[in-house]
């Protein structure tokens, strides 16, 4: 889960990293009040979970509180790369002497975290990395040791950063490990004209798997998720809303992704990703089907299950249960194979629901679901 800039800023502050004075709001009138409190002249920054905000007009300087209100009104409600702006952060401007870049990223191939640092920070860091890789230091961090002061000094020297940034690197590592983050990035890290080292903008991505030991995750989560995704999450189902018309349900992330691709290969567009997981109960299947059927964009549903641990007759029971409780108006194509497949097919055959079609292979099932979505 990506944090908003203002959430990242708050974490940095808690871990003792200097950040600009700032406040967040969703109201233009409140923006004026905040600007006054911050000294009048402020930077108005759209809060969206995507990069390239500045270039998209989401970061602007306002000279006085009235201008802050006007600017906030202009930015709020706009859309940056598909992300609606629901809040702005107003921050005290900082006089910058020089800009740097520091981050800890997960190096998946090496199975460890990597410190990335450069004395050339700012928005063009990707370009610096591409054109002059020698200007970007990449230092692996031994997980058993973490970022000690010796390691921080090594990073600082390799990147040509001011020696005082070593302390920031240690504290950022504490953010990474203390918050179970998989990415912590400060860009730019600046030296102000008054000589302070300050984190001006930041990105933090948290590890969803660590929710069980991170008490604050609930409040950090975005309340503005898709209603269908919220309904699925409440039932403990892995669901991602997509923009097509064929609802897809399967077991196992890989098989569901493959099913989406096969549907797309048949000329239709998948409406969602839904994984009922391994060893799913009839109830999970039934809940999953209810979620997909409640999506107004869905015109047909494809259930593709290869029973490994999952028993196909249990899946079939779940489908029947959902059909008995939800008034289904959309055709269903079901492909069951593997563990207890014959029994599962028999359960569906006995129920003989007019909207349920059985298919014997994944490809055939996808073709049929695509055709049904086209004609319903």
């Amino acid at each position: 889960m990506d944090l908003y800039e203002h959430q990242a800023r708050q974490l940095f502050e808690e871990y003792g990293i200097l950040v600009p004075r700032a406040e967040v709001t969703d109201s233009p009138r409140r923006a004026r009040v905040i600007a006054r409190g911050l000294g009048g002249r402020v930077v108005v920054k759209a809060q969206v979970r995507t990069g390239g905000r500045g270039k998209a007009g989401g970061v602007r300087l306002a000279e006085d509180p009235a201008a802050a209100e006007r600017t906030a009104r202009q930015i709020l409600g706009t859309d940056i790369k598909g992300h609606p702006v629901r809040a702005v952060m107003l921050a005290q401007p900082v006089d910058i002497e020089s800009e740097f870049y520091v981050s800890y990223v997960l190096d998946r191939a090496a199975g460890r975290f990597l410190a990335i640092a450069s004395a050339e920070g700012g928005t063009e860091i990707e370009e610096v990395a591409a054109t002059r890789p020698e200007a970007v230091a990449r230092i692996p961090v031994d997980p058993a040791e973490g970022v000690t002061s010796a390691k921080a000094t090594e990073i600082v020297r390799a990147a040509g950063l001011p020696p005082r940034t070593a302390d920031i690197l240690i504290r950022l590592w504490q953010v990474l490990t203390g918050e179970d983050a998989v990415l912590v990035e400060v860009n730019p890290l600046v030296r102000t004209t008054r000589g302070q080292i300050m984190a001006l903008d930041g990105k933090v991505t948290l590890d969803d798997n660590a929710r069980f030991r991170q008490a604050r995750r609930g409040e950090q989560e975005d309340p503005h998720t898709d209603p269908l995704e919220a309904a699925a999450a409440a039932r403990g189902i892995d669901y991602v809303k997509l923009d097509g018309e064929v609802g897809v349900i399967g077991n196992g992330a890989g098989l569901v992704m493959a099913t989406l691709d096969v549907v797309a290969g048949c000329g239709a567009r998948p409406a969602n990703f839904l994984d009922i997981g391994g060893g799913a109960s009839a109830r999970i299947m039934s809940d999953g089907l209810s979620v997909v059927l409640s999506d107004p964009d869905v015109r047909s549903v494809l259930v593709n299950v290869f029973g490994g641990i999952t028993a196909c007759d249990t899946v079939a029971d779940g489908i029947v249960r959902a059909l008995d409780t939800v008034r289904a108006t959309k055709p269903l194509v079901v492909r069951l194979d593997g563990n207890n497949a014959a029994r599962g097919r028999a359960v569906l055959g006995d129920r003989a629901h007019p909207l349920v079609h059985q298919a014997t292979t994944m490809d055939e099932a996808a073709r049929l679901a695509a055709r049904l979505a086209d004609t319903t």
Partner: protein, 313 residues
């Protein structure tokens, strides 16, 4: 010979006495796995009785009793175990794998899903210093059909054969095993869908290249990271056996996690298209669907496409 796991492997199960551990230990025993013990410090000294179904079906079942040890170390001393299968919940997985590595186990197969990535980084790094191979986490384990199964891959899908398979996904592994059930497999390894895993596609490619029982390798990948691109470079430089690939996730949107923690396209990196291109550029045929992938395998092996595309109801 197979890779990583044979009939001679002696398997301990960490978390055997939990619900998942019990269910899958029974299935492993039925698959022929030599399960020599479970580990649970609170139940040390007891034995657990398993009612193991005999294959083929209809032959009834036979009781098997498996001892529970207080630690992996005790289990190894008493039985000579060389493999551990880890079913413990996410919060305890780190300690379990560190314990197994410190006890000197050769292979730790971590089935547990939902382990924080900092924990996986820590135990994978520690295991490497102890000479322990970690497979997983968040994986279905591995199976050498006809010999042994360490994990949760169903043993009744297919028979021993000449194909080696490595995959990030459990159910896609089952699907391919099913499609190629008449051909059979030397070993199938599910390496797991997390961003950090102990054993990579490359490790498995190297093992299959050296395995005389493996004639052809199937490589299944999915969106996220660059493991498949790295595998492609490795294939170009080191693999002489034919490789057939499949990649899932062409329709995945950017920035969304698709079920597996590691399955995410970030910006323009980690896309299925880039992975397919990388594999094809080194001469790996990549199937558009699992079924087409199976057909490519049969064609390379010179076998007729008997049942792979046809159902068997």
């Amino acid at each position: 010979m197979a890779v990583f796991l044979t009939k001679d492997s002696k398997v301990l199960v960490q978390g055997m006495t939990g619900v998942e551990g019990m269910r899958h230990t029974r299935r492993m025993l039925a698959a022929g796995t030599n399960v020599v013990g479970g580990v649970n410090p609170r139940k040390a000294g007891r034995t657990v009785e398993f009612d193991v179904p005999r294959h083929p079906e209809g032959l009834g079942s036979a009781p098997r009793s498996v001892p529970v040890f207080g630690s992996v170390c005790e289990g190894i001393e008493a039985t000579g175990a060389d493999v551990s299968v880890v079913f413990v919940p996410p919060a305890f997985a780190r300690a379990a794998v560190l314990e197994a590595a410190d006890a000197g186990i050769g292979l730790a197969v971590v089935i547990t899903e939902g382990i924080p990535v900092h924990d996986s980084v820590a135990f994978c790094a520690h295991a490497a210093t102890r000479g322990t191979r970690v497979i997983g986490p968040n994986c279905p384990g591995l199976i050498t059909p006809g010999q042994s199964s360490a994990g949760i891959i169903p043993a009744d899908i297919t028979e021993p054969g000449r194909v080696g398979l490595v995959s990030k996904s459990g159910t896609l592994t089952y699907q391919l095993m099913h499609e190629l059930r008449d051909t059979g497999f030397s070993t199938c390894v599910g390496i797991g869908g997390d961003p950090v895993v102990g054993t990579s596609h490359i490790d498995c490619l190297a093992a299959f290249q050296d395995d005389p029982d493996t004639e052809l390798i199937v490589l299944i990948g999915e969106i996220g990271g660059d493991a498949e691109e790295r595998a492609a470079a490795y294939i170009r430089d080191h693999i002489t056996k034919p490789v057939v690939g499949y990649i899932a996730g062409f329709t995945a949107p950017e920035g969304r996690t698709m079920g597996h923690a590691g399955a995410i396209v970030t910006g323009s990196s980690g896309t299925a298209q880039a992975k397919k291109k990388a594999l094809e550029s080194v001469g790996v045929q990549v199937g558009g669907t699992p079924t087409e992938t199976a057909r490519l395998v049969l064609a390379r092996l010179g076998e007729p496409a008997t049942r792979s595309d046809v159902t068997h109801s």
